[in-house]
């Protein structure tokens, strides 16, 4: 298992370190795993190193979601602030630090997105009021989707490896189970049963808490 986790940073691929001078840095600087360890231990320098290496990837996601500007900058900033203040929640069984940061960024993006949608709907509702049109046409569908999204992201954050890595490759990189097996070196049958169990777990979470949210 530790072998699997060791190769994961390269295989997950989605979070490639930003390192324009690798030759110089490798001699004196900790590798990504070490940065993760120090980050979890509260070493301030590790936060700066994590920012150097992965802020570009995180900000790239934020800009893709919201375009360049204050919303994207907020997402990037909040991702690192939350990751730092919540660093106790990061352990090596969560996988490499950059993947964990991406998970935090997804939460922030979902937050910001939901906020934007809410504002948009309020504006629309205000306009509909002004025009005396029947309100509430679109709101309930959107609300349940947003609620589901938060629950799924939250549940994903609770998964250990390799379950989390597997389902993230399926969800966020759109790989088939065969491609996931290929990428990770995990046997096909194991990938399939992890996918099955994770989807069941997510379904249960949605059925229990999703229902409660709407009650």
């Amino acid at each position: 298992m530790s072998g699997l986790l060791a190769v994961r940073p390269a295989e997950m691929g989605s979070v490639v370190g930003v390192d324009p001078v690798p030759a110089q840095r490798n001699a004196v600087e900790p590798d990504d795993r070490e940065v993760g360890r120090r980050f979890a231990a509260g070493d301030e320098q590790a936060l700066a190193l994590a920012y150097e290496r992965w802020a570009g990837q995180i900000h790239g996601m934020a800009v893709r979601a919201f375009g360049p500007g204050p919303d994207a900058e907020d997402v990037t900033q909040q991702t690192f602030v939350s990751a730092w203040t919540g660093r106790a929640g990061y352990r090596s069984d969560k996988g490499p630090l950059p993947g964990w940061l991406v998970g935090v960024a997804r939460h922030k993006i979902a937050d910001t997105w939901a906020k934007r949608e809410r504002q948009r709907r309020e504006t629309e509702a205000a306009m509909a009021d002004a025009q005396a049109a029947p309100p509430d046409r679109v709101t309930s569908g959107f609300d349940s989707q947003v609620a589901d999204r938060f629950l799924v992201l939250e549940e994903l954050a609770r998964l250990g490896q390799p379950q989390r890595g597997i389902i993230e490759l399926a969800f966020f990189e759109d790989l088939t189970h065969a491609q996931i097996a290929d990428r990770t070196g995990i046997p096909l049958g194991t990938v399939k049963s992890h996918i099955r169990r994770t989807l069941e777990r997510l379904r249960t979470r949605l059925e229990v808490d999703g229902a409660a949210l709407h009650a």
Binding site: I109, Q145, R149, K192, R205
Partner: protein, 185 residues
Amino acid sequence: MQHCTPEQLALAALREPLPADDADHLAGCEQCRTEVISLQRAVDAVAVPQLAAPGAPVAPPPGVWAGIAAATGVSATPRTDVARQAPAAEEPAQPAAEVVPFRSRRRPLLLVAAAVVAGAALGAGAVAVVQSQDGGEPVTAVALDPWPTTRPPVARRSSSSPTVRGWSRSTSTRPSWRTATTRSG
């Protein structure tokens, strides 16, 4: 035939194509389809491009770190030269080449834009070559080419990625942003 296995139904929930037997059964079996739909709720909740795996890095402006430092009270500072160079990492100087296709198909518009830029740059390079050869100085042509040998993967990626590795599994039923990607390829 018997019902599909739980594993197959999970794959169906992810919209992977099933073997013909399973697909036929699923099409006609209310019980199996209900199971797929119930598993699909989680899949669909996060199937939005905003949450897809990271693509091209973008260097955040300096104020972002300032905000982080202020909020956390951390006094260590990242080297700004490194952060500022982040966009350069779009070029796979690291062994990222094999993962690029999976990422890129999530970003059809960005890739189209990248391809356009690449094409424009290549075009400009070609013009530069022609012009410099007119001047009888072919060595200059190399220097003028704005798209050195490491760059072509950007253009290649964008044209090939939509068909790479199983993308077809989502042609029919994925949310529209995904099918749009397929069509764009």
